[in-house]
């Protein structure tokens, strides 16, 4: 069953110059992107900076409007986890209020109970609720952002580079948490990252983006073992493996 279907999406941003901010041209951020995501899968979207992957995520979330093309979402229960947990949490709100905000907007009942139980999910102590974001490490903050997303009971989460500002040991913890949550609540992820290793670890299927287009798409194993597009091959050959065996015992 398809949960998301994007057809031929285009999006340009104007280039403005000078004091009068005259439009002198446009950047094609998305140049005819189509993809479909099945319910329950993790769909990886990989590409280098400026390729349009975040723009696509924003259009799917409805934060940006596409110039043309259609987005068909089979659910309205959609959430987002951003890259930088230093910017995505309001510094003036306590953790309890951050976590409760979505539930209040939904008109939910038993808010305190739900918020408290979400702490177990992300392995933070009850005392965390009275603290402010700055009192937590980057990894803990990302856990809070994850709990905030999960609390509103979404079916579909756009994860936009959720681990790229974290150290490797913390990355792994967060990725494992995201995997567990997906399984436990049978959710669907659109997982956006520039890091091929992270995408491989997380995804069932993957699309490779470049300059506003998807150049290759397929099951992770197929794309990683027999890439068909030269750009995918270039990306894959840029991965620096730490093969201990390659350096001789």
């Amino acid at each position: 069953m398809t949960i998301l279907e994007c057809k031929d999406i285009t999006k340009s941003f104007p280039i403005k110059r000078g004091y009068l901010q005259e439009e002198v041209g446009a950047v094609k951020a998305l140049d005819g992107v189509s993809l479909s995501i099945n319910k329950g899968e993790v769909f990886g979207l990989v590409g280098e900076s400026g390729c349009g992957k975040t723009t696509l995520g924003k259009i799917i979330l409805g934060v940006l409007k596409q110039d043309s093309g259609t987005v068909a979402l089979a659910t309205r229960r959609i959430q987002v986890i951003f890259q930088d947990p230093f910017n995505s949490l309001d510094p003036k709100m306590r953790v309890f209020d951050i976590l409760a905000e979505g539930l209040i907007l939904q008109g939910s009942s038993e808010i305190r109970k739900k918020v408290e139980s979400s702490l177990d999910l992300i392995s933070l102590p009850k005392g965390a609720l009275d603290k402010y974001p700055h009192q937590f490490s980057g990894g803990e903050r990302q856990r809070i952002a994850i709990a905030r997303a999960v609390l509103t009971d979404p079916e579909f989460i756009v994860c936009d580079e959720p681990v790229s500002s974290l150290d490797v040991t913390i990355q792994l913890q967060i990725l494992r948490l995201l995997k567990d949550i997906r399984k436990q609540f049978s959710m669907t992820y659109l997982f956006i990252s520039h890091d091929l290793r992270v995408i491989k670890f997380m995804s069932d299927r993957v699309a490779v983006m470049r300059q506003g287009r998807i150049v290759e798409e397929g099951p992770v194993r197929q794309v990683y073992t027999s890439p068909s597009h030269p750009y995918t091959r270039e990306l894959l050959s840029s991965i620096l493996e730490v093969y201990p065996d390659a350096y001789g015992q």
């Binding site: 280098e48 490797v168 290793r197 991965i239 730490v242 093969y243 201990p244 350096y247």
Partner: protein, 264 residues
Amino acid sequence: MMDGTILKVRDLKTHFQTDRGVVKAVDGVDFDVRTGETFGIVGESGSGKTLTALSILKLVAPPGRIVSGSVVFKSEDLLLLDAERLRKIRGSKISMVFQEPASAFNPVFTIGYQIIEAVMAHQAVKMSKARDLAMEFLKRARIADPAKAYHDYPHQLSGGAKQRAMIAMALVNSPELLILDEPTTALDVTIQSQILDLLDEIRERERLSTLFISHDFGVIARMCDRVAVMRKGLIVESGDKAQILNDPKEEYTVSLLESVKALA
């Protein structure tokens, strides 16, 4: 000088006086960089690896302070030199490439101007000679269009080209020791591999001694001969690359490598 030690760091401590007490960012670090080798320091954020590099050149800003130790470059202890002597060494005998090429250049001067400035600060040459040197090193750094890059302002270059220009500037005074602090971290992977190729080529040609700092074990494994693993201001383990990667002794190194391998 072929098979000696070019840099000897002993008991280096850099502390920060804060309202809540002393933060021991670098807390007793010892290591040697041998002539002609690439020595890597790997660690997670906050481990003190960048401050170690900055301390070597006495570039630590207050409230940070180098509280003890010695940094012997060839035969001089850099920490004992006066400002004038140190300025003669920075950017000439020892040069440094920083992580963020966008903020390492001055935005209001052209690339060519900034490289010439580096030349004139250290070499008694005429302007025309300095200009030739700047062009030559931009070419050596394999910038796509050196003549254009020379006249460009930093913002007109891509991230990769900017880092190439940075490398050109670091090499223009023929340093003996090159300190690279996360030189590819801000770049896309395909650009990263191009820059690492360039650094390989330069090291081979110039037989440069290099101190290479990175959080990325993949980059360290690719570039270094010997490696030190840093954590909380201390080197927890150091040795030949093969030994550290194949047979780490410390639990922290093991856990770090496991996180990397789990994602491989």
